[in-house]
């Protein structure tokens, strides 16, 4: 028998990572008699992308020290994404991000002070340095205190959103289960915030054995934000902009402190510059209206692309010239090591095993497998309403459908009523990183409070039949396992038993990763794809979807979690492929190249790509939405 618990909340937060913690804080600040509930798949003290810690805060304006202006920031972010961002959303989180960082400072996060200026030590123009081993633990303390320990549901994975029976456009909560004891939770909420992070393991990771989990983005980033919202029919945006990052080889140690703070060069294998030989070609293909290759900070995607051209010319790999900037036994060595120890310890484990001394030799830098994210140098996620004072209220010449407009009353509300997004889940506003994600959580929560006050006389209805059918679906993989338990005998294998009536999570995951890698611009094809390949990917994904529905099996609660993570990843993958297929140009050549349309095409594609999925029919709809530049462009 399934044990079911109903939980009533004013605001439900799905995922207590950076954005979810920010939402928890702000929701309780504005609404003292609200019950705010966090459903968190792991343990909030160490969950999400910051579970290991971080060594920098990548988004901080420094307004009080007049270090930057918000306008300049929007220009920078817009340039980095080759012209396409929701400037209202970017401006909005950027103008608030400093207060978030000052709160972190007050709470006890060790941010490196700059005694000369009274401000913080800058890593780069927008980044500041922290001793961030306990970053998430500190932020989680604030979230726990804000909502009360009794309202933090650790180890509860949310699998489905709940819709109102009378209004298919209204989200009224979510369903999930405790991954330790299998209790099903039905959360009924007046407002729901999706902050369940980004997606790793949608594409085949570079390491396939024991190191499978060593993706750059953590293996627990299960693309749930997207999977949940796609299935509920929320409009998604920019899913094609899934991206890759240059990182130290195998350990995926970060490059920021080396490049920005220590000013370490990256060269090709022969010590030569990787940018100059390709500048002319890149300029020809990717200048666009924004003249991107000549921006003061070269866009991430173009730098990545130039490096890859070097590798393909046989002059790889890229080498980080640490021997020129790291000196043994000095401050620079402590910085170099802390950068890893705070957020990617594996890199040090590898160096210890390889006897690698950064002060003596350079180290290889490669690009990772692609990730689906909305908070880094990329912008996948839900299409959301902008803020009151920054989003154009109406765009004439376009349909009134929210999927074409920038504003419908509540900041960060998705196209579905009562459903908000934040952090990796919220699209078209990149570069939030940790501080900006927390800030966006705050924005979404404040707006959610306003929403529930405006709708205080609305009764939250949940349909028993709908709930029951979701629970049946949710539990089916367990039952399927029990049903055929004794029919097939196989020995213990690396993967799982072979059984013609079952697909276990790892088998499905490997299938997904192989499709995405080989057809949708993964690392094994050097991130190149074309129309034929993408169509083939869709065909194979359709089989996978059907197999999931008919064969997914789980031996225990833990595997049931893995199975539903897989489902969220599959839906996300389909969105990614459909978006890549729709956008007939190459805008971010470092992230992927559409070989059949290898150039940037501003005439036709200086637009957002939006989509909507209908779970009943399995049909997708995709369309373009113009980019409105609120800050003069170019």
């Amino acid at each position: 028998m399934v044990r079911v618990r109903y939980v009533d909340a004013d605001i439900l937060i799905i995922g207590g990572g950076m954005a979810g913690s920010g939402a928890a804080w702000e929701a309780r600040y504005w609404c003292r008699n609200c019950r705010v509930v966090i459903a968190e798949k792991a343990n909030i003290n160490r969950s999400g992308a910051v579970a290991m810690g971080l060594s920098a805060i990548n988004t901080y304006m420094g307004l009080k020290c007049k270090e930057n202006t918000v306008e300049d920031y929007v220009k920078y972010v817009r340039g980095d994404l080759m012209g396409i961002v929701r400037e209202d959303l970017v401006y909005d989180y950027a103008r608030h991000v400093d207060s978030t960082v000052h709160l972190f400072d007050e709470w006890g996060l060790p941010i490196w002070p700059n005694p000369q200026t009274g401000c913080y030590v800058r890593e780069g123009k927008w980044q500041i340095m922290i001793h961030g081993e306990s970053y998430k633990a500190i932020v989680a303390e604030a979230a726990r205190k804000a909502v009360g320990e009794e309202n933090v549901f650790n180890r509860v994975m949310v699998t489905h959103l709940l819709k109102s029976p009378s209004n298919p456009n209204r989200v009224v909560g979510a369903i999930g289960f405790n991954v330790n004891d299998g209790t099903v939770y039905v959360f009924r909420a007046k407002a729901t915030i999706v902050s369940a992070g980004g997606g790793s393991h949608v594409y085949r990771p570079r390491s396939q054995g024991e190191g499978l989990g060593r993706a750059w983005y953590p293996p627990w980033s299960s693309a749930s934000s997207y999977g949940l919202m796609i299935e509920a029919g929320a409009v998604m945006t920019m899913m094609e902009a899934r991206f890759v990052v240059p990182r130290f080889k195998d350990g995926y140690g970060p490059v920021g402190a080396y490049q920005l703070l220590l000013k370490t060069k990256i060269t090709n294998a022969y010590g030569q510059d990787f940018w100059k030989p390709h500048y002319e070609e890149i300029k020809k293909l990717y200048s666009g209206k924004g003249n991107y290759p000549d921006l003061p900070i070269t866009p991430t995607t173009l730098r990545v692309y130039a490096q890859r051209l070097e590798w393909m010319a046989g002059r790889g790999p890229s080498l980080m010239r640490t021997e020129e900037t790291v000196k043994k036994g000095t401050e620079s060595e402590a910085i170099a090591y802390e950068d890893f120890l705070d957020m990617t310890i594996s890199q040090v484990v590898i160096w210890a095993g390889q006897n690698h001394e950064p002060a003596e030799r350079p180290y290889e830098v490669i690009t990772t497998e692609p990730y689906v994210m909305g908070s880094h140098a990329t912008e996948c996620g839900a299409w959301a309403s902008g803020p009151d004072d920054l989003a154009p209220k109406k765009i004439e010449g376009l349909p009134d459908d929210r999927g074409y407009q920038y504003y419908w009353g509540y900041n960060r509300m998705t196209t579905l009523d009562g459903l908000f997004c934040a952090g990796d889940g919220c699209g078209a506003n990149p570069h939030k990183f940790s501080s900006g994600s927390f800030t966006e959580g705050r924005l979404a929560a404040k707006s959610a409070v306003l929403f529930i006050m405006d709708h205080s006389d609305e009764k939250i209805e949940v349909d028993k039949a709908q709930v029951d059918s979701i629970i049946t679906k949710l539990m089916e993989p367990l039952e399927r396992y029990e049903r055929g338990k004794y029919t097939v005998v196989t020995g213990p294998s690396y993967m799982h038993p072979i059984d013609p009536t079952k697909m276990y999570w790892k088998q499905g995951l490997f299938r997904l990763q192989k499709i995405m890698d080989e057809y949708a611009g993964g690392w094994s094809t050097m991130y190149v794809t074309n129309e034929w390949m993408l169509n083939r990917a869709l065909e194979l994904l359709q089989f996978l979807k059907e197999d999931f529905i008919n064969y997914a099996a789980a031996q225990d609660w833990h595997e049931l979690m893995r199975v539903w993570e897989l489902w969220h990843r599959i839906l996300t993958a389909e969105a990614v492929v459909r978006h890549m297929l729709f956008r007939k140009e190459t805008r971010w050549p470092g992230y992927y190249v559409r070989a059949d349309y290898p150039a940037l095409d501003d005439e036709n594609w200086h637009v957002f790509v939006n989509s909507r999925y209908d779970a009943k029919t399995g049909k997708w709809e995709l369309w373009k939405v113009p980019v409105i530049h609120i800050i003069p462009f170019p």
Binding site: W25, E26, R28, Y29, W30, R32, A42, N43, R46, G48, A51, M52, L63, K64, T69, V70, E71, H96, D98, S99, G108, S134, I138, A142, A146, R155, G209, E210, G211, G213, R214, P218, P219, W220, Y337, I345, S346, V348, I350, W351, A352, G353, Q354, L390, A391, P392, K393, K394, I395, E396, G397, R442, K446, L450, M453, N604, P626, I628, I630, I631
Partner: protein
């Protein structure tokens, strides 16, 4: 396997099981010596070291991913919430040892003032762009400047082609 438990040191307290973000630290079936923790799914381990940091017995260690890490090196950590420092020892395969120590927090654990201890915000400010701690009436202004604004046209006309 990325993290592994030394059974003789493990008391079965469950701290590692409780903290692992990947939900892969698990207990063996209780035997003569009680339950022991182990990493049940090493290929979904991120080497985040949380099980290592949170084990009160120092019973969890990491052996680098076999598919790319030569054996014999080690990274050890001791995290102390009283002195608020994290102590690292890096042992190279060739015997080289490096020590590092970094601060982890500047305030005592549990000292954060929750949002509900700030004065209750005036409702009408809900309809302004200010967040908590960004205005004199909202617990002070931690931005250090007046909230930046930008003038945006209310209605934008676009021409739709194709």
């Amino acid at each position: 396997m990325p993290s592994y438990v030394i059974p003789a040191k493990c008391t079965g307290c469950g701290d590692c099981v409780n903290i692992c973000p990947s939900h892969i630290m698990r207990f063996t079936k209780s035997g003569l010596f009680g339950r022991k923790a182990y990493n049940a799914e090493p290929e979904m381990c991120w080497e985040c070291y949380n099980c290592v940091k949170h084990c009160p017995q120092g019973a969890v260690q990491i052996r680098g991913y076999q598919d790319f890490t030569p054996m014999g090196g080690a990274v050890e950590v001791y995290r102390d919430e009283k002195t608020n420092r994290v102590y690292w020892t890096i042992r190279y395969r060739n015997g080289t040892i490096k020590y590092f120590v970094f601060p982890i927090r500047t305030t005592p654990w549990g000292s954060i003032k929750p949002p509900t201890e700030y004065p209750e915000p005036p409702k009408e400010l809900l309809r302004t762009p200010y967040l908590s701690c960004e205005h004199e009436q909202l617990g002070g202004n931690k931005l250090g400047v007046e909230l930046p604004r930008y003038k945006v046209p209310e209605v934008v006309k676009v021409e739709v082609r194709g």
